[in-house]
């Protein structure tokens, strides 16, 4: 048995999914937060069921000839039940999708979710009447509190076992006539295999690019017929066929909403008051600066306090392990590499990584990110993008890989490409670890802040250049702003853990292995030749110790490696005793800008093609050299 969770963005699909899957699918309080789908197996009343969490869609009509993953899944895959997750506090709009899902004529059940939110807004919903109107079971849930979910899956299972198909809704008479006529045209031709003819007919009348392409490829003569029916509809209504059909569905959705919802006075809570300030034209900007600065200081403050004692413990451990071996032997080198890799992860990376990930999760789950997109829209227009690009860019401060994948929330190809390229320049949490561990720790937090600002400046310049250079139009910002919400502790810790696991499972072993490899290379004096090869850049251009060459090579694997390797190459965590502050600054600048890690290059290649990815990587090296040399010279002049 296979159940699919389908619904509009932010309706709580992933929350429902996680309730049976454990924390597997990232929840976030902004639209289209789920980029691809996740599946899990669960036992429901003793039966094994596969549950699929699809990305949110507002409508089945795709905006591109290439349908999104959710539309494709619903059209082409096999499943036994659609669980349509509906945001009860936005019932009218959500029902527009529900009506389209009914047209699949598959077993379906509605999860009327966010009941707490609806109640807070003063809506009383008669879910039994809603069930009668839709002809499918409706179960009320509050997925955040885990309420109603057991019943939802039980009811879903029963419905799927009996395999009761959903019945298509009935629209205006004229629309029904038009759909009927197109269905006759389609006739017995399996225009889109496995999809009910009525659904295809509706979508053809709505000029859905994806289904039109598919249907007309198999039945080219259909196109003229549909156009004729469409123009008839247009001549009686005065609007194009797509507007008449979607308008009719809209009217039906709101008619049903009116029947089942009784409105009372909503409570104006603290959230509405805070939101008024966050989005206000006078206070919104200053509050944004304050929030981001507070975030920065909190990460630094926590990280520094934790790092100091851990660093001492680490030095002690390193010393006592070294005592066990003959100095200079291979065994001592391997042991030292092992300690470095293990301890480096705990003492150097984690103190800044953990508070950073928690902070980012808070920003995501409170719903502040879409507000940033709203506030920064006019600024982004100056770069030639618009506010929505802010979302991937901010996510880029966490990890470039999912951030670059999230560029698919942008509608235009041009915006997607530019934003993906720019996102790879944003210092991810690994680079943040380097910035905090070297510059903030040894030079002060203001210097670290300066690096972030410099980075934003570089991104703005690059974005402006790319926008001038690439062709294509962008529709501009259209973005739903969800309600603010308090992040709850369970989601927050689960989410931080999910991101942290990625470090522990992938980066840490890599760190340990690289540490040992570096140790052995140094022991065999093989590192020297690579360092010598890189010395024109490292020593001559950047004025760094020759030993950093290898660390930069390892940094291409993971950016955290540069920091841990640096400590190892120099033989001390007191890096400032071996390198001058000018060198620390130059090194950090170079690390922040040069080649994003291998994983990032791979997703870039997926989004932009290998040529694009290679070009971006090339640009990053050039930019890194320019910025770090400029930093080196400027620092030399002013200190």
């Amino acid at each position: 048995m296979r159940f699919v969770l389908a619904g509009q963005p932010n309706s709580g699909k992933s929350s429902i999914f996680n309730s049976i899957a454990g924390y597997r699918s990232a929840t976030a309080n902004f639209p289209k937060s789920s980029i691809s789908f996740t599946t899990t197996k669960a036992l429901i009343a003793g039966r094994e069921v596969e549950v699929v969490d699809l990305p949110g869609i507002y409508s089945l009509t795709s905006s591109d000839a290439v349908a999104g993953p959710a539309e494709r899944y619903l059209l082409d895959e096999k499943y036994d039940l659609i669980i349509n997750v509906v945001d009860a506090s936005r019932l009218g709009r959500s029902l527009e999708l529900t009506f389209q899902l009914l047209e699949f004529n598959r077993p379906m059940i509605v999860a009327l979710n966010m009941m707490d939110e609806a109640r807070r807004r003063g809506s009383e919903i008669d879910h039994q009447e809603l069930s009668r109107q839709l002809g499918v079971p409706v179960v009320t849930t509050t997925s955040r509190l885990g309420m109603g979910l057991k019943q939802l899956f039980r009811e879903g299972l029963r419905h799927a076992v009996f395999a009761v198909p959903a019945v298509s809704p009935t629209y205006d008479r004229e629309v029904e006539d038009a759909i009927g006529r197109v269905v006759t045209l389609i006739d017995s031709r399996d225009s889109v295999p496995g999809v009910p003819a009525r659904l295809v007919a509706t979508k053809l009348l709505e000029s859905d690019p994806h289904l039109s392409l598919r249907a007309y490829r198999l039945a080219p003569d259909l196109e003229a017929g549909v156009a004729e029916v469409g123009s008839l509809l247009e001549s009686t209504h005065g609007w194009s066929a797509d507007q008449v059909v979607s308008g009719s569905r809209h009217a039906l959705a709101h008619a049903v909403e009116e029947r089942v919802v009784t409105h009372q006075r909503p409570d104006v809570g603290w959230r509405d008051r805070v939101d008024l300030l966050l989005l206000n034209q006078w206070t919104g900007g200053p509050l944004m600066v304050a929030i981001l600065a507070g975030f920065f200081w909190a990460v630094f403050g926590v990280g520094r306090r934790v790092e100091a004692p851990l660093g001492e413990a680490f030095n002690w451990l390193q010393g006592s392990v070294a005592d066990q071996f003959v100095p200079g032997s291979l065994a001592a080198t391997v042991a030292d590499g092992l300690v470095m890799g293990l301890g480096g992860g705990v003492a150097i990376v984690l103190p800044y990584l953990i508070p950073f990930l928690i902070g980012l999760a808070i920003l995501e789950d409170t719903g502040y990110l879409p507000r940033l997109a709203y506030i920064l829209d006019s600024f982004m227009h100056r770069i030639g993008l618009h506010g929505k690009s802010v979302l991937p860019l901010i996510l880029g401060y966490g990890c470039s890989v999912p951030a670059i994948m999230s560029t698919r929330i942008l509608e235009s190809e041009k915006d997607r490409r530019i934003t993906a390229a720019l996102t790879s320049f944003i210092p991810c949490s690994a680079r943040t670890v380097v910035i905090f561990g070297l510059v903030a720790a040894f030079m002060g937090p203001l210097w670290a802040l300066a690096i972030y600002l410099l980075n934003i400046f570089v991104v703005v310049v690059l974005g402006t250049v790319m926008a001038k250079w690439m062709k294509g139009a962008s529709p501009g910002l259209v973005l739903e702003i969800p309600e603010l919400s308090l992040p709850d502790l369970k989601t927050l810790s689960a989410k931080t853990w999910l991101a942290l696991k990625e470090f522990i499972v992938i980066a840490w072993p890599l760190l340990i292995a690289s540490s040992i490899v570096l140790g052995v290379l140094e022991w065999a004096h093989a590192a020297d030749s690579i360092n010598a090869l890189l010395s024109p850049i490292t020593v001559w251009l950047l004025g760094l110790p020759v030993a950093v060459g290898m660390t930069l090579v390892f940094g291409v694997l993971r950016k955290e490696l540069t920091l841990v390797m640096l400590v190892q190459a120099l033989g001390t965590t007191e890096v400032n005793t071996v390198m001058t502050t000018q060198q620390l600054l130059t090194f950090t600048l170079f690390v922040v800008f040069y080649v994003p890690c291998i994983a990032t290059i791979a997703v870039l290649a997926k989004q932009l093609g290998w040529r694009g990815a290679a070009m971006i990587s090339g640009i990053t090296v050039v930019v890194a050299m320019i910025v770090s040399v400029a930093g080196r010279i400027a620092y030399g002049l002013f200190s």
């Binding site: 507002y58 506090s89 308008g247 034209q281 227009h381 529709p475 739903e480």
Partner: protein, 92 residues
């Protein structure tokens, strides 16, 4: 008739036409913005930033470019979905 980007804060307006082709129209439709709908302008960002509108209990940010393509009416003349093509046509 005016466009949405010219509507002041806290004013209500009714969508009467969406310019700019089927793509942008269907995009707005999916967010629940249709011809005939009432919306309220909640905020207007400075520096020609977006307008924030409330429609059917949801808040949607619309960039000025998009807002300037949405023709609205503030006098409350009701135009039904069907049969009043003259009124819409006349406003063009």
């Amino acid at each position: 008739m005016m466009t949405l980007d010219a509507v002041g804060i806290h004013r209500e307006a009714r969508v009467i036409m969406i310019d700019g082709g089927q793509k942008i129209r269907s995009y707005l439709n999916t967010l629940g913005i249709h011809i005939g709908d009432w919306l309220t302008v909640v905020q207007r960002a400075p520096f020609r930033g977006p307008v924030l509108v409330e429609i059917h209990g949801t808040r949607v940010a619309l960039g000025r470019g998009v807002a300037s393509k949405i023709q609205v009416d503030m006098d409350g003349v009701v135009r039904q979905l069907s049969g009043t093509m003259e009124a819409v046509g006349a406003g063009k």
